[in-house]
């Protein structure tokens, strides 16, 4: 059936949980692109046939016309599926800037195609320049604050880090009392966790 493969591409998106990414399915994607071009070839040949019979292309409603309409509609449908696939993935990818920071971990980067990687970098830079124009970091304070300081446990060897005006050594398993906004990026990247007694 026309458009079947394209819709399966989208089912793939719908099946993954919100905010999660699957690997870019370039095989299926390229095949749908190919289908689009095939629809166009058929569409053009039907139009030529109508013209060859010296019929008016605007008003003719014969079998060739309806065949052409179906190929046209199928092409539009495939386009919508392809665009939605890219667009919704791009939205998820851009939202990662807020969740994991400007550098994506390897395991996520492997799921992106070239254009998506580029899109993430450019978008990330756009947010960066907006924030520097404002002179305000918007990537912290993602949840309403309660205490200005929190107790955290370090989960990874992070090493020497400069926080505010002093530097601090963050070794694995150590406990610290940090400013919430300092700790937030480490927590969202999974390098620390909030320590609750």
């Amino acid at each position: 059936m026309y458009g079947r493969r394209a819709s399966q591409l989208l089912r793939e998106l719908a099946c993954s949980e919100t905010g999660q990414l699957t690997a870019f399915n370039s095989d299926a994607f390229d095949q749908v692109i190919k289908e689009c071009n095939e629809h166009n070839l058929q569409l053009q040949s039907l139009i030529r046939k109508i013209e060859d019979e010296n019929l008016d292309i605007q008003t003719t409603r014969n079998e060739d016309h309806f065949g052409a309409v179906i190929h046209h509609l199928s092409l539009i449908r495939n386009k919508r599926c392809l665009m939605a696939y890219m667009y919704n993935r791009a939205e998820t990818i851009q939202s990662l800037r807020w969740k994991v920071g400007p550098v994506l971990p390897q395991e996520i980067q492997e799921k992106l195609n070239y254009s998506e990687e580029e899109c993430f970098k450019n978008h990330s830079a756009a947010i960066q320049s907006y924030m520097s124009e404002l002179d305000l970091d918007l990537t912290v304070d993602m949840v309403p604050p309660k205490d200005p300081y929190i107790r955290v446990r370090v989960l990874d060897d992070i090493g020497e880090v400069c926080l505010g005006d002093h530097s601090i050594s963050l070794t694995k398993h150590s406990l610290h009392f940090l400013r919430r906004t300092d700790a937030e990026p480490f927590i969202s990247q999974g390098m620390m966790e909030e320590f609750l007694e």
Partner: protein, 193 residues
């Protein structure tokens, strides 16, 4: 009106609709598995995805019959006990498809039927979502349509958030995309026929 990029809307429009061609069409034999030529004949009865059936209907090229999920049989079942009917197996996009099909068919009672079905099932969904266990997915959730599942999940997660808020606890969390731990959610994927 759902947007151009709306995934659910796109998948919903893939639902098969039974149509009868009022014209012939050349070069599209793929549509009719019974056809021996590359053409679809006038009068051929075929199943088309909604997106194609709809557009061809607007061009008066096909006539549309009411999908089985809105049949008298389903209506009787809904009237007997709305909450017990497995709507997902009938059509995971029951309400959305219903709304789009109404303008295309002569049977206008579908509208009130949808309303009746939704209100009848809504109470059940809401009360179950508040009492449902956190870890396991309740059995009845496999009977819900896509929209109902989203409603159920929304109610359940706000109840969870409320409980968490009341107990206190960590609010800063690792980005979910990095985690291996998976939450239990209703399988969001409609079964492909």
């Amino acid at each position: 009106m759902p947007g151009y990029y709306d995934i659910d809307d796109i998948i919903m429009e893939e639902e098969p609709i039974s149509v009868v061609f009022q014209v012939g069409a050349h070069g599209v034999g793929l549509l009719d598995p019974g056809s021996e030529t590359n053409n679809v004949e006038n009068g051929a009865k075929v199943d088309l995805p909604f997106w194609l059936a709809h557009e061809l209907y607007l061009r008066q090229a096909v006539s549309i019959s009411v999908p089985a999920c809105f049949s008298q049989k389903t209506r009787k079942e809904i009237q007997a006990d709305a909450a017990c009917v497995d709507l997902r197996i009938r059509c995971p996009y029951f309400y959305e498809l219903g709304c789009k099909i109404v303008p295309l068919v002569s049977d206008k009672s579908i509208g009130s039927f949808l309303h009746y079905a939704f209100t009848g099932r809504y109470k059940e969904i809401l009360s179950k979502s508040h009492s449902a266990s956190v870890v396991t997915v309740p059995k009845f959730s496999t009977r819900l349509t896509k929209e109902e599942s989203q409603l159920f999940e929304a109610a359940r997660s706000s109840m969870l958030a409320f409980k968490k808020w009341r107990l206190g606890g960590s609010r800063l969390e690792k980005a979910s995309i990095l985690g291996r731990k998976r939450k239990t959610t209703i399988p969001a994927c409609p079964s492909t026929p």
